[in-house]
Assembly symmetry: C2
Homo-oligomer: 159 residues x 2
């Protein structure tokens, strides 16, 4: 007995899914805000810069601009600006691609690699701290569950 009319007090399924989405969004924004803040305070840097360096670190031989935007799923123009600023700081370098004068390969410099190593270690520690509630042994299953939430939404996403 809940005081509602008795025609149909059942909530539409879409409401429950909407709440789920709002929780997911809220959680990831809160974590991201915390990481952004720490990245700024500790390293005077940003998450987008970190993301670009992380992608480059995973590819010893560097990545072309278009590969970078593909991997990070951001627009081409976006990557141009971030790489410009990282290059100004001497953390990455654009090297010519032999055989295609349109393209350039972006690589971490030695300094970029060293900088990234420091930041990545700190970043991993922050995440570990922020997710301390999750037993390490269960992190995998939770990750799989989250992955399953959106599978059909980004089918073109698989690799």
């Amino acid at each position: 007995m809940n005081g509602e009319a008795h025609v149909s007090t059942a909530e539409a399924p879409s409401k429950a899914r909407l709440r789920l989405w709002l929780r997911l969004l809220k959680a990831s924004r809160a974590i991201e805000a915390e990481l952004r803040d720490r990245m700024r305070r500790e390293f005077n840097s940003t998450l987008p810069r970190f993301d670009v360096m992380a992608a480059l670190e995973r590819n010893e031989q560097g990545l072309k601009m278009s590969e970078l935007s593909g991997v990070l799923k951001v627009s081409n123009g976006n990557v141009t600006g971030i790489v410009d600023r990282l290059a100004e700081d001497g953390l990455v370098a654009r090297v010519a691609v032999t055989g295609d004068r349109r393209a350039s390969r972006v690589c971490l410099t030695d300094r970029g690699r060293a900088t990234f190593a420091t930041q990545a270690a700190a970043h991993e520690g922050w995440v570990d701290e922020l997710f301390a509630q999750v037993p390490a042994g269960r992190a995998g299953e939770v990750a799989a569950l989250i992955d399953g939430l959106t599978r059909p939404a980004n089918r073109e996403d698989e690799r």
Copy 2:
């Protein structure tokens, strides 16, 4: 037998948590990108505009700028710009607060309420579609699980 040296192949717990975070981030970004895209194509609008209108819809009497930025957890300056643009479009209005000439209360206009109603219905449908994989009956428990992931990270977040 996994071919690794036998000194210690166990992975640090922080790696599993890092992967969990990357999945969470990837999932929410994919959903958000899809919603942003639809919001732009169907309504020539944006998620931040929608978020502001949603907050105002939930508060019949409107919200002050600072309340708005508090609820949405974005900076004051950010809200100023979004409200400016919504006001230009006649969807919200700043009304003076009697007794405090510094503050203004932002309210949805009739047109804003109508516009929001249309967009909110579509938005709920999109989310329902994107999360179709999640049985409606389980959405609640999944939401609670996600919520639990970050509780200690945003303890000041509770309401």
